[in-house]
């Protein structure tokens, strides 16, 4: 097991810069998830750790050793690919033995390692089948088995669950997490799915356009997002953003762009008179009776029931707000509702491009 350290990592494709001086550390045994929209550079980063991409600048260290010029096979890493990448002309057993065979390990040792990995993943009955005879979930497990067999210092996962159906994804998520707890292996996991990030990570790294936006424990990112991007990316349904500014006249209110007033807590001196963005999560909004103090109006646009909860989307404060409520709702389209925001759960961000978090 080993620590992975990225120091001012840069990646350029000709004139285009894909990664901008990325600094990141994965501690020994940690499960770190790189998450971000398509094109943010997370897969590129992973491939650079693996040694499949050249490094344009900065260093990558694995286990305290700088590996910039070291070939993938000598970095002692194993990778699970999005499309499994199983060798179609080999059986499951041969797929899993391939790396050890190349390393010159004796056949009895190889057999033992394969049996062990197969037992962990429940692959014993499949060992003599070819990949085309397996289901998606089984192929994914074989891909993981192929990685486990090598007993590497670092595991790399490149969006491994993206090609599975929703139900299987939930199941495999838990299995991967269990596997990590069992093996205690240093893991770097790339996904675009923030739910996977939230449920699986010890630490999440949110990326955008080749930059790291925030690194932290899942709930830290959830409760205190560093900027507007992270706030909107983490959490589903997404955070609500209301543009406007704090009331200049001194009362503790935030005036949205359409004039709606939302009560806020007292300690917002710095924000007065400058435009800002108030943000609140759908579950921190509630639907209340008309004369509730601090309530503000909205008009119902969509009502979505997921079973355990209901999402009400209402036009309010110059935008569409999502409200998550636990009860079944009998609201109809076009109906007027009164919303209330939990004052202790408000976030404020700059109105500028950066959208940094404002202390509040």
């Amino acid at each position: 097991m080993a620590q992975v350290a990225l120091n001012k990592l840069v990646k350029r494709y000709g004139a285009y810069q894909a990664l901008h001086e990325v600094d990141m550390t994965v501690e020994n045994g940690e499960f770190v998830v790189l998450v971000g929209p398509s094109g943010c550079g997370k897969s590129t980063l992973l491939r650079m750790i693996a040694g499949l991409e050249e490094i344009s600048g900065g260093t990558i260290s694995i286990g305290g050793r700088v590996v910039n010029t070291i070939r993938p096979k000598e970095r002692d890493i194993a990778m699970v690919f999005q499309s499994y990448a199983l060798y179609p002309h080999m059986t499951v057993r041969k797929n899993m033995s391939f790396a050890l065979k190349l390393a010159g390990v004796a056949q009895p040792e190889i057999d033992k390692a394969v049996e062990r990995a197969a037992a962990i993943l429940g692959l014993e009955p499949l060992l003599d089948r070819k990949p085309k005879q397996l289901s998606g979930g089984q192929r994914q497990r074989v891909a993981m088995g192929r990685a486990i067999v090598r007993n590497p210092q670092v595991f790399l996962f490149d969006e491994p669950l993206s090609n599975l159906d929703a139900k299987l994804r939930v199941q495999m998520r838990a299995e991967i997490r269990e596997l990590h707890q069992r093996l205690g292996a240093t893991t770097v996991y790339v996904t675009h799915d923030q739910i996977e990030a939230m449920t699986m990570a010890d630490k999440i790294v949110v990326m955008r356009d080749g930059h790291i936006e925030q690194i932290g424990h899942p709930l830290e990112l959830y409760d205190r997002p560093a900027n507007r991007f992270v706030a909107g990316f983490i959490g589903s349904p997404a955070m609500n953003f209301i543009e406007g500014q704090v009331d200049a006249s001194g009362t503790d209110r935030f005036i949205a762009s359409d004039g709606t007033a939302i009560p806020v807590s007292a300690r917002l001196g710095i924000l007065k008179r400058s435009p800002a963005v108030l943000a609140i999560r759908p579950e921190d909004l509630s639907i209340v009776a008309e004369n509730t103090p601090g309530a503000f109006p909205g008009m119902v646009s969509v009502v979505e029931t997921t079973g355990p909860e209901t999402i009400v989307i209402a036009n309010s404060c110059g935008t569409r707000l999502s409200v998550v409520i636990k009860e079944r709702s009998r609201l109809k389209l076009g109906e007027k509702v009164w919303l209330s925001a939990d004052v202790s759960k408000l976030h404020f961000f700059e109105a500028s491009e950066d959208g940094r978090r404002l202390a509040a």
């Binding site: 890493i77 199983l86 060798y87 391939f98």
Partner: protein
């Protein structure tokens, strides 16, 4: 009603095509066993009565055909093998590596295919003569690369490109060298391409006439197509012998196709990646 009419609409032209394509070979095969008197009677005699092996005896034991057969075999196998070796490495390079002038090089390779044989005979003769390769196996083998290499490289490049790059990434991470990836992972997966290249090269060189006529002038070095052409003048109108000789010449190709056809594994890639 509509279905059976549609079937007829498709099967009728197909049947006609099959008959037109196969009939010459059938006639050749049947005629090879006919005595001279039954070869071109009017009305035509469909089946030999009785069949005779005299033509084959003539061809196999009293002519140069066996020698020509061996020559053709050596040259075709040699040329095919060489083309395969070069094409595999070239195609892999074109498919997987990005280097300056790559697209130009690939286009340039195809130009070789466009050369009309008549235009290159003289310069090739001069070169071969200079190198002392006229009337040698090596001379013809090398020259045939002009015929076989361009399309082989082009075909194999396409096949290599069809292999998902992630498979090769996985192999690299598993510890394979670049060459190891080529031989352990990529090559097994382009088997249909290899077979296609082998078949194409073998047939092209086996049937080739113009280069063989120009560069293998000595009796000992001639190939089957030349031998066959001369055979007809040598024997004047011994069409029975010509048929038997043609039969002998066609046999290896037919056998190769029969054997290799089973080796075309479809769906080779299924199971490797998602979907």
């Amino acid at each position: 009603m509509k279905d059976s009419r549609r079937t007829l609409l498709i099967s009728l032209p197909v049947a006609i095509l099959v008959i037109v394509a196969v009939f010459p070979f059938l006639w050749m095969a049947v005629s090879a066993f006919k005595p001279l008197s039954q070869l071109y009677t009017i009305p035509p005699q469909w089946l030999p009565d009785p069949p005779t092996l005299a033509n084959f005896k003539n061809v196999l034991f009293e002519s140069n055909i066996p020698r020509y057969f061996v020559n053709s075999l050596i040259i075709s196998i040699g040329s095919t093998f060489l083309a395969l070796v070069f094409a595999v490495f070239a195609a892999y390079g074109f498919a997987r590596f990005d280097f300056r002038g790559r697209s130009a090089a690939l286009a340039f390779v195809l130009i070789g295919q466009l050369l009309p044989t008549a235009t290159v005979i003289v310069p090739l003769y001069i070169v071969l003569n200079y190198l002392g390769l006229i009337n040698t196996y090596l001379g013809l083998i090398l020259v045939y690369l002009i015929l076989t290499l361009p399309l082989s490289v082009w075909m194999l490049t396409g096949y290599f490109r069809g292999i998902p790059k992630e498979l090769e990434d996985a192999a690299i991470i598993d510890g394979a060298s670049q060459l190891g990836v080529l031989f352990r992972i990529s090559l097994p997966l382009v088997t249909p391409g290899i077979i296609a290249v082998t078949l194409y090269s073998f047939v092209a060189t086996w049937n080739e006439f113009v280069f063989a006529l120009s560069f293998a002038t000595e009796k000992e070095m001639k190939t089957l197509p030349i031998g066959l052409a001369e055979f007809s003048t040598e024997f004047d109108t011994d069409w029975g012998a010509v048929m038997a000789a043609s039969f002998v010449m066609t046999l290896p190709i037919a056998l190769i196709f029969l054997v290799m056809q089973r080796m075309f594994v479809s769906g080779l890639m299924s199971g490797a990646t998602k979907g």
